[in-house]
């Protein structure tokens, strides 16, 4: 699949944004985080900003963005529509939660309810995003048990990493959060490795034989219906060399998991200004790493239509 920048950024940014929103909602709502104005402003601003930027970016993928509102209508059948509905619906409690925290300086009472609802919304939204991909049968690498948990784990991972950086920056860092971020990073790492192993060993029932109805033997593409690349090939015929993919997998592991984990470990050991700087750095590096991971998520996904083209 063609790794369109808009979609790579969209899924990565909203994943992190909803992760952060969810954690702020839960931790704020349950009173684990104080209702500090700046923390609220920047924390909620960052979460909603990532979400908004991601959603905005996603419209860059649309041919007719002015009709985007229509996407809320088909929630009964379409995961994309559900995502649209969930993402916008989540903004209501998220907005109230942010207002309560920042303007009214409180995170209890109705604000807490809004926070918890926003957290639920965030989880639901990330699930719907994951399901968009997990539901696509023609792409075996996506239509797998690993996709939905992956989206949730990476959302929680990047969200917690951001939250840790925030708390560290505001000098209200908690070992529990840092530990959680570290553990989630390891979980994410492990999940990604397992996913790759699963994908590399995939035996896909759909072959050039079933695609053409020509049973037995080999089916080899002789000529395409057109000499130059068409929409199908540009959108779904993306190919990445094995070597290149291996390199990018390594970069993903370093940036998204290994380096952030190392930085966090150092942050544990070092005093505040350093710990804060390292925590922020860890979050930034991990975000960059997740962009690479998401790029690979698309690039390594093989659509069945490529079988018709001998790819």
């Amino acid at each position: 699949m063609h790794p369109a920048a808009s979609v790579v950024f969209f899924t990565t940014a909203t994943g992190a944004g909803y992760g952060l929103l969810g954690l702020l909602g839960v931790l704020g709502g349950l009173g684990f985080v104080s209702a500090d104005f700046w923390l609220g402003l920047i924390g909620m601003g960052l979460a909603l900003g990532l979400i908004a930027a991601g959603l905005l970016s996603s419209t860059g993928h649309l041919g007719r963005p002015e009709r985007a509102w229509r996407a809320f209508s088909q929630w009964r059948s379409s995961w994309l529509s559900r995502e649209g509905v969930a993402s916008v619906a989540t903004l209501i409690p998220a907005g109230l939660f942010g207002i309560g925290w920042v303007l009214f300086g409180r995170t209890g009472g109705w604000v807490a309810v809004a926070g918890l609802l926003a957290a639920v919304g965030a989880v639901v939204t990330v699930c719907t995003t994951g399901m968009i991909y997990a539901s696509l049968k023609p792409i075996a690498q996506w239509h797998s048990p690993y996709t939905l948990p992956g989206y949730l784990i990476f959302s929680a991972m990047t969200g917690s990493m951001l939250l840790n950086a925030l708390l560290q920056a505001f000098a209200v860092g908690a070992t529990a959060i840092a530990t959680a971020a570290l553990l989630l990073t390891f979980l994410g790492w492990g999940w990604k490795l397992t996913t790759w192993r699963y994908n590399d060993a995939l035996e896909i029932a759909t072959t050039a034989n079933t695609a053409t109805g020509l049973a037995g033997g080999t089916v080899r593409s002789l000529e395409w219906p057109h000499t130059e690349e068409n929409y199908l090939l540009k959108e779904m015929g993306f190919r990445i060399a094995r070597k290149h993919a291996a390199k990018l997998r390594l970069i993903t592991q370093v940036l998204a998991f290994a380096l952030p984990a190392l930085l966090l470990a150092l942050a544990f050991a070092l005093p505040r200004p350093f710990a804060a700087v390292l925590s922020v750095l860890a979050a930034i590096v991990q975000f960059a790493g997740m962009l690479v991971e998401r790029w690979l998520f698309f690039a390594e996904a093989k659509h069945t239509v490529t079988l018709y083209y001998g790819r």
Partner: protein, 244 residues
């Protein structure tokens, strides 16, 4: 509405005979020509005279070499929308632009609702959907919905453009939901198959596989030729034959 109809009155579709298709591209351009002025007009061509030419087509013909223990064969393979009974391209559509008609089973796009998210093209395993980057909407085979019921065409012309054009008669059209229909009987007789049945989308269109060498009606039960047994050999035989 992107929920699928529980039942369609008809299952209109195509039957494509891979044993007969010579890959002449007649169906391809007949389709292009009709549809570029038809229901989903235009079928835009980007860079039509340049090096990156890329147009919207609803029907494309591939060629393959199929090799089995019985030998090799070149197979020409037209590919277009299969008008599945349970098409994922419809259910994934967030706007209701994509839909399956309850009356005849044709899968269509309501362009005015399409936001161009392309998800339907990801959901279709067959590559049946084509994005028009100029208009920003998805387009696809309409099974010539603007021909098959068209009062402005002579009744005999109310078939999809590809079927009307096909010089080898390798394309057939009808109601595959009616077991008595000519197309259903053709499928039964020739062992028509679904493409990617494992996907579970239940394509309406069927493909008639090339006849295997052994099944070809064409094998001629000819005994080996032996030299004539006549006095004087062949020339003697000629004389004898002429004298008879």
């Amino acid at each position: 509405m992107t929920c699928l109809p529980a039942h369609t009155d008809k299952k209109l579709g195509l039957v494509i005979d891979l044993d007969t298709c010579v890959g002449c591209q007649a169906c391809v351009t007949a389709c292009k020509e009709w549809n570029t002025g038809g229901h989903m007009a235009p079928l835009t061509d980007i860079d039509p005279y340049g090096g990156n030419v890329d147009g919207v087509w609803f029907n494309r013909v591939h060629s393959y070499e199929h090799t089995t223990e019985m030998g090799g064969r070149t197979v020409n393979f037209p590919r277009s929308c299969l008008h599945c009974e349970t098409p994922a391209c419809v259910t994934v559509c967030p706007t209701g632009a994509s839909y399956k008609r309850a009356s005849d089973g044709i899968v269509l796009i309501d362009e005015s609702k399409c936001i161009g998210c392309k998800l339907c093209s990801w959901a279709c395993p067959y590559g049946a959907r084509e994005f028009d980057t100029d208009v920003g909407v998805m387009k696809k085979c309409t099974l010539c919905v603007d021909r098959i019921y068209n009062d402005n065409l002579a009744e005999e012309d109310r078939v999809p453009a590809c079927v009307a054009a096909c010089p080898t008669s390798a394309r057939h059209f009808g109601d595959l939901g009616d077991p008595a229909s000519a197309v259903s009987q053709l499928v039964a007789e020739r062992g028509g198959v679904d493409l990617m049945p494992e996907m579970g989308y239940k394509p309406t269109n069927k493909y008639l596989p090339p006849r295997a060498h052994t099944q070809r009606a064409a094998s001629v039960p000819a005994p080996r030729l032996e030299p004539v047994k006549a006095e004087g050999g062949f020339l003697g035989w000629v004389d004898r034959m002429l004298s008879n």
